[in-house]
């Protein structure tokens, strides 16, 4: 909520500009400027400053030349006034025969226009007014504010020491703020009322609104310490970590897919997200938090959390095509170069707010970071790639042992229950490598070309030889094949003993994907006839045409002890209704026992119940494409079961045993659920050979220059050693060294940067407004002393972020009201509120809106941690397709932090509400206000359904009395009762339009969307 009008006066007095006044050496007035044809100060000085001054100024006279004044140029004969053609300077700066000119040595050549300007200036007499003195642009490591050690600022040093009080530290914050306000004759605003404060704290610390009960009890609490206690309570709640992890993940540009055009899944990434949440909740010391994220796997290899923390390094996008798919080595080098840039940039901007990436193609234009230093930093990261890795071999082994143990036990129980109940064998489970009783793996498949087991998805198969029988190693499966009847003439083998079938029509002879325990790759639907065959209690044998599979009945008989059997299943066409059709067939010992031609989706499910004689040896299921191409021909056998033909009656003893077994089974299932997915995470995977890193000319991966570089940190921080290893230092040790450099006690940046971010997260704007750029391209601190004091406090409190929260939140500055009167004196001086004469009202971020809406409707699912929820349909394809669905079931009503974040296909709802693109490192959220946002909040399906749940909740919690409904709705949405006017107009609306309408409006209102 910024005002745009900011007076020039405020610009000047704020002092933010002052540190850059290195140009103030002269004063020239406008008349002088107008008089000259070519004005030195206006036209020429900027060119020298841009290209030359850095190496040629009073303090750095390389080549014995300073361009601070005209003295050296003239003395050394570089310039012959009035004669550019004869002036040696021109020779130095002009390109010759297409080669780079001698000067400037660093950076790019001067553009033509600038060379022409210098030539004209010399020809005009090379007039350089005496009062014009050029100096090297700051910042240098000696002068730039952010590279200096933290100022030690004691309360006693302040001109007006704060009165002693229990929250003296917070009062110190106020002191810094008041001092600068007082300079403008301004004062702080009044303390906000308790209702406002509790809402502000809840949104700030949890990203959720308070319940009306919480508001009531806080407002009425007589305890003078109630506010401080509330802060403690909120910081101790797990919602705090969920809220603050989102801030950190913005900086890490975290997502659950790779990004780029293929945008594949990154299913193990979530462990890092959970690590961040946990770290905030545990109040992990911030220096340790950074160390773990940069090199936890090296520093504490046996600490599971420290290892997972390194997911930070790999959280950004990764180009599958550029790294893997392309055949061009040049493209792969380019992709890798950009990859390293992304990693180095993320680490340095998030931790120390140094924009080192600006030195990729040339020395940093503004900050004292050379191009070489940039590549030395890259040498820290060059030894690893992004990839899935196990948390530790021991953890994986233990996991597998546990899992096997539990699964084996459960399989045995299933088998026994199956035996006792005469339940029958599930053919889909057998296809998935199972025993027919549930031990198979969902979606595992058998390759129709080779009978090999395949776990990944395939599309159209290559190298298919129709009518070739491949024998399966599975106990219950005899073999598989791709049928092509060749107009009835072909003999198609259907068993390992040489049985064959004929009379099958011509097919394309093509095949798609595998025969699967579940849907085939890219299957149009898993539902048919109202049944979702992937749901609990159902199974599906996916048999995309053209394919056939033969089961070994003898083996099944000897395991089951059944003689005569029955085959029970429902076959159907699971592809889309696009006109094509397919056929399904069943054979027993090569005798056709079932045939259904021209199956389409609209045909629905065909119920099959076939008797299989005790003498039968082979059962064959087959699908063919109907001669109209095999596209979409996704034939599936639903719930395919082989059973004993004998009806089965259970004895009391059997029944008792089954009951016990089921209890045991439920226990085992819970244990398996608790075990979760294998201990893998997406993190740094060491390269086998450490590749040498060289400086890349203009950032071009094809133009390496000079010797291999050793890992080093930027020299801008003069108090720190730059060396991070030698060329022999192993990959991990380089990172460990960088982690130590970043968090070194005398590195002033790590503490300053996080203190500033914390301030930004509480006030909407940092003391340095560019919170990821503390260099000269960024802003300078509005309250430098306060910033350093906060940073020192953080270190003094052993890097406890929660302590820093308390200091800020307890300050009167934070607790000010955000409201004001139109005649407030500050409006004419500091409309932007840089001086903090009030708190900034802020619009809720996209995720906070979503979570708060769920909270109001009563639907928020508090499940914490684990794999992200997927509010999209996933379709595997060359480029996977993610189609968003309306989140309308409990699994999708979790907090947004647990969203499975698709990098390239954003959630439209959130993106419209300014959720940033995870391709970017986001230091600060932008807020925009657009009609499309209004349409989204007003009409989006999710919002409407939630408005409806909200109204149900209000209705259920109120008596039939409309007035009470209005009161409840307002209390839930705003944490307060409606005013008399509000109640009146709300009741009018309700009477005419109903409660839903009121709830829909409240969810769209400014008071709900903004925190005061």
């Amino acid at each position: 909520m910024k005002r745009l009008a900011m007076s020039i006066r405020s610009l000047v007095f704020l002092g933010r500009v002052a540190p850059t006044l290195f140009v103030s050496a002269l004063i020239i007035n406008a008349q002088q400027v107008a008089a000259a044809k070519l004005n030195f100060a206006e036209h020429i000085a900027p060119i020298f400053t841009k290209h030359c001054i850095r190496c040629h100024h009073a303090e750095n006279r390389q080549g014995d030349l300073s361009l601070g004044t005209s003295q050296d140029l003239k003395d050394n004969g570089y310039i012959i006034a009035g004669n550019a053609a004869e002036s040696p300077l021109m020779d130095l700066i002009q390109p010759r025969d297409g080669t780079k000119p001698e000067m400037p040595k660093q950076g790019s050549a001067m553009p033509k226009g600038e060379i022409t300007a210098i030539k004209a200036w010399i020809d005009e007499g090379a007039i350089w007014p005496d009062n014009v003195v050029l100096s090297a642009p700051p910042p240098s490591q000696q002068t730039w504010w952010s590279y200096q050690p933290l100022q030690s600022i004691q309360h006693s040093n302040l001109s007006q020491p704060p009165a002693p009080s229990p929250t003296a530290k917070a009062h110190a914050v106020d002191h810094f703020i008041s001092t600068q306000l007082a300079q403008q004759n301004l004062t702080r605003s009044n303390r906000a009322n308790r209702r406002t404060l509790i809402r502000r704290l809840y949104f700030d610390l949890h990203g959720l609104p308070p319940t009306p009960e919480a508001v009531q009890s806080f407002v009425k609490d007589p305890d003078p310490q109630a506010y401080a206690k509330l802060i403690d309570q909120l910081l101790d709640a797990p919602e705090y970590g969920e809220r603050y992890a989102r801030h950190w993940l913005d900086l890490a540009h975290y997502a659950d897919t790779h990004g780029f055009e293929r945008d594949r899944r990154r299913d193990n990434a979530w462990r890092y997200r959970d690590y961040v949440i946990q770290a905030f909740n545990d109040d992990k010391p911030y220096d340790l938090f950074l160390q773990e994220q940069i090199a936890g796997d090296i520093l504490w290899p046996d600490n599971r959390n420290a290892v997972v923390a390194t997911g930070f390094l790999t959280a950004g996008p990764w180009d599958y095509v550029g790294h893997i798919e392309t055949k061009s080595a040049k493209l792969r080098r380019a992709a890798r170069s950009l990859d390293l840039d992304d990693i180095a940039t993320q680490v340095m901007t998030s931790t120390v707010a140094m924009t080192i990436n600006c030195a990729r193609c040339h020395d940093h234009k503004l900050d004292p970071i050379t191009q070489q230093e940039y590549y030395q930093l890259r040498a820290v990261f060059a030894g690893f790639k992004r990839g899935d890795r196990v948390i530790s071999d021991a953890a994986l082994k233990e996991y597998q042992r546990q899992k096997e143990l539990l699964s084996d036990k459960r399989d045995l129980i299933d088998y026994t229950i199956g035996r006792l109940e005469g339940k029958g064998f599930d053919l889909a489970d057998i296809v998935g490598g199972g025993n027919g009783l549930g031990s198979g793996t969902y979606r595992h498949g058998i390759d129709t070309r080779s009978a090999k087991v395949q776990t990944r998805d395939f599309g159209k198969l290559g190298n298919v030889i129709p009518n070739k029988y491949a024998i399966s190693p599975f106990e219950f499966i005899d073999g598989v094949f791709v049928p092509d009847g060749k107009d009835g003439s072909a003999k198609i083998p259907v068993s390992s003993t040489g049985m064959s079938i004929t009379g099958i029509p011509t097919t394309s002879g093509q095949a798609w994907d595998m025969i699967r325990n579940g849907p085939v790759a890219s299957q149009h639907s898993k539902q048919l006839g109202g049944t979702d065959f992937t749901k609990q209690g159902h199974s599906l044998l996916g048999l995309h045409a053209n394919a056939g599979i033969t089961f070994d009945l003898s083996a099944i008989r000897s395991a089951s002890k059944w003689n005569e059997m029955r085959l029970l299943t429902k076959v159907g066409y699971f592809g889309a209704d696009d006109g094509s059709s397919a056929d399904a067939w069943i054979f027993v010992d090569a005798e056709k026992v079932y045939e259904k031609r021209g199956l389409k989706r609209s045909t629905g499910l065909q119920i099959i119940d076939l008797k299989i004689p005790a003498s039968a040896k082979f059962l064959t299921l087959m699908s063919t494409d109907g001669g109209n191409g095999f596209g979409m021909d996704q034939i599936g056998f639903g719930d395919p079961k082989l059973k004993s033909a004998q009806t089965h009656s259970l004895t009391a003893k059997d029944q008792q045993q089954i009951k016990m077994l089921r209890l045991e089974r439920a226990r085992l299932t819970r244990s398996l659920d608790l075990l979760g997915s294998p201990p893998r995470f997406y993190g740094p995977v060491a390269e086998t050979v450490l590749p040498p890193i060289r400086l890349l000319e203009r950032g071009d991966a094809e133009s390496p220059r000079g010797p291999p570089l050793t890992p080093a940190a930027p020299s801008a921080l003069a108090m720190l050693e730059t060396e991070l290893g030698t060329s022999n230092t192993p990959e991990g040790d380089r990172r460990a060294a960088l982690a130590r450099w970043v968090t070194a006690e005398n590195n002033p940046l790590a503490a300053r940067v996080i203190a500033n971010r914390m301030w930004q997260w509480h006030f909407g704007q940092g003391l340095v407004s560019t919170s990821s750029d503390f260099g000269a391209g960024g802003d300078t601190p509005s309250h430098p002393q306060l910033l350093d004091w906060l940073a020192s406090q953080l270190i003094a409190q052993e890097w406890s972020l929660k302590s820093l929260h308390r200091i800020i939140l307890l300050s009167a500055t934070y607790q000010q009201q955000s409201t004001f009167q139109l005649d407030h004196p500050a409006l004419s001086i500091d409309a932007d509120n840089c001086l903090l004469w009030r708190q900034n009202p802020r619009r809720l971020e996209a995720e906070v809106i979503r979570d708060s809406v769920l909270f109001l409707s009563g639907k928020l699912n508090h499940k914490r941690g684990g794999p992200g929820f997927e509010d999209f349909r996933y379709q595997d394809a060359y480029a996977p397709i993610y189609t968003y669905v309306t989140a309308d079931k409990p699994e999708l009503w979790r907090r947004s932090i647990y969203r499975y974040i698709v990098r390239t296909t954003p959630d439209r709802f959130l993106r419209t509400l300014d959720c940033p693109d995870p391709a970017n490192l986001t230091a600060k959220r932008e807020t925009t206000t657009t009609p499309l946002q209004s349409l989204t909040l007003f009409n989006n399906d999710f919002m409407l359904r939630q408005a409806s749940y909200f109204s149900e909740r209000v209705l259920n919690s109120s008596s039939g009395d409309i007035e009470q409904q209005v009161r409840n709705a307002f209390q839930l949405a705003y944490g307060r009762l409606p005013t008399a006017t509000e109640a009146k107009i709300a009741m009018q609306l309700m009477e005419q339009q109903g409660l839903f309408t009121l709830c829909r409006a409240l969810l769209n209102s400014n008071e709900f969307l903004y925190v005061d």
């Binding site: 850059t20 290195f22 060359y878 693109d917 349409l935 769209n1004």
Partner: protein, 486 residues
């Protein structure tokens, strides 16, 4: 010069070395600030983020239509005629033995399956794959010497649409609408019309906001896929909807009293009014039923034998209607990935180019040509810039063992038409086979710089500070291609 008030500009100026000028005189005489590289940012009133804004210099083009052929449409089978390729058909490309392109090794030089014929008064040679577009040759300015930085589709689309191969940078349309706002606030300022077959490879990144405020992202809809959340929800009557708005307005006004003069809160209130107007004007502009039968016929929207073409034709009519109503930036896509990569639903003809392009040519040609003629007839080309582009070009050879062409970023074609563009005109040339640009070699940066120039924007000054950089559409490159300006 209101941008003086922007603190960031100020810092950038001083830091990039505008030495010798004191702060005092700076503030006295704003003219002194003007240097060629100083960022010139739009002054955006948060309460009216889409209000039309003045360009840097007088603009020739008020709005832009980008026709994007997704999949890398071959220059050699459309607009870049190479007689030598016909002569050397079946022979090896000199130096191709060691040439590994995206999918691997090269086969023989292969002439286009389509004949080239002279078109228009100018006699520009254009293939029979796009004969109707060819007939407009006299109105077109061809650039045959574009060079790119990548030969991969996703990065290639990103590069053409955002100036960077990576994801996450603002699209050309986002830069344009950020700078200029729009002339019709009742419609989205920037519309991306996706192909009836789906979205392009880089999907929304082609019209993404990058790090610019999300307000400036393209809004995606087409003639068959309506704008999301536009209609009054099912089960809500128009009168209820209106009553809800009225109530909401009163609630918000009450709230505003506590924050007198707060522009952002006021903007949110008026955004609901704007949204209501959009609910009227968008259906109006997307309602093609008011188009005459002859128009539908001209575009091919009545072609029942080719539903994809008919749908694309409707998209072309929609594009014209949006431009007519003053939408600032329209991106019209031809070709999609998700429903069939490798040339099935797009121009990525690796393996069976003749067969696939035979399908794609007719989808593009008639509807697109009709749209261009229509724009001209209605006088819209006077201040509308039309740009045709694709991610990169293709090889003059067929791939080893296949009947299609591999990717080639070393010389490819784009064209421009309309406001401020010289026509008929051909700029630059590729070598005798159409493989590499050799004459007036130009870059995507130059191309973007030229588009911005026609819109009245200096590509070197239209910048946005992000994580240490003054970011531009043209990175740190690009020169306006003066030769193509009328």
């Amino acid at each position: 010069m209101p941008n003086l008030l922007n603190r960031r500009n100020f810092l950038a100026d001083t830091a990039t070395g505008l030495s010798g000028i004191a702060l005092a005189s700076l503030l006295q005489d704003q003219q002194l600030l003007a240097t060629p590289t100083e960022p010139l940012r739009p002054e955006i009133d948060a309460s009216k983020p889409f209000a039309a804004r003045e360009p840097h210099h007088p603009a020739v083009a008020k709005r832009v239509l980008v026709i994007f052929c997704s999949g890398a449409c071959s220059q050699l089978d459309t607009f870049d005629y190479k007689p030598e390729l016909v002569k050397q058909h079946g022979k090896p490309l000199p130096g191709a033995e060691d040439l590994l392109t995206f999918q691997g090794k090269q086969g023989m030089l292969t002439k286009s399956p389509w004949a080239f014929k002279p078109r228009g008064q100018s006699g520009k040679m254009i293939s029979d794959l796009v004969p109707q577009i060819g007939e407009l040759a006299d109105d077109i300015c061809f650039l045959h010497s574009l060079t790119g930085k990548t030969n991969t589709h996703g990065p290639g689309e990103n590069f053409m649409s955002t100036g960077y191969t990576l994801d996450g940078f603002p699209s050309m349309g986002a830069w344009t609408t950020w700078a200029l706002g729009t002339e019709n606030e009742n419609l989205p300022s920037y519309v991306a019309i996706s192909d009836p077959r789906g979205t392009p490879q880089s999907s929304v990144n082609n019209w993404g906001p990058g790090f610019l405020p999300a307000a400036y992202q393209g809004t995606e809809f087409n003639a068959t896929k309506p704008l999301n959340n536009l209609s009054i929800p099912e089960g809500v009557t128009a009168s209820t909807d209106k009553a809800t708005r009225t109530f909401l307005h009163r609630l918000n006004q009450q709230h505003l009293e506590k924050f007198p003069g707060d522009t952002e809160l006021a903007a949110r209130i008026s955004s609901y009014e704007l949204a209501a107007r959009m609910q009227l004007s968008v259906p109006e502009v997307t309602d093609l039923s008011t188009e005459s039968k002859s128009t539908l016929r001209e575009y091919g929207a009545d072609d029942t034998s080719n539903p994809v073409k008919a749908k694309f034709a409707n998209n072309c009519i929609l594009a014209r209607r949006l431009l007519e109503k003053g939408v600032r930036f329209v991106q019209l896509f031809n070709g999609a990935y998700q429903t069939g990569g490798e040339g099935v639903s797009n121009w990525d003809g690796h393996k069976s180019l003749a067969e696939q392009y035979s399908k794609h040519g007719p989808v593009l040609d008639q509807p697109c040509a009709a749209m261009l003629r229509d724009l001209k007839r209605r006088g819209l080309l006077k201040d509308t810039l039309v740009v045709w582009m694709t991610e990169f070009g293709r090889m003059p050879t067929f791939q080893a063992g296949a009947s299609g062409r591999d990717h080639n970023p070393d010389g490819f074609t784009a064209w421009m038409m309309g406001a401020g563009v010289k026509a008929p005109y051909t700029y630059g040339a590729t070598d005798e086979f159409g493989h590499r640009a050799v004459e007036n070699i130009t870059t995507v940066y130059d191309f973007h710089a030229t588009v911005l120039h026609l819109l009245g924007l200096d590509h070197k000054r239209l910048s946005y500070y992000h994580n240490g950089f003054e970011r531009r559409l043209t990175d740190v490159h690009g020169d306006v291609i003066k030769e193509v300006l009328a």
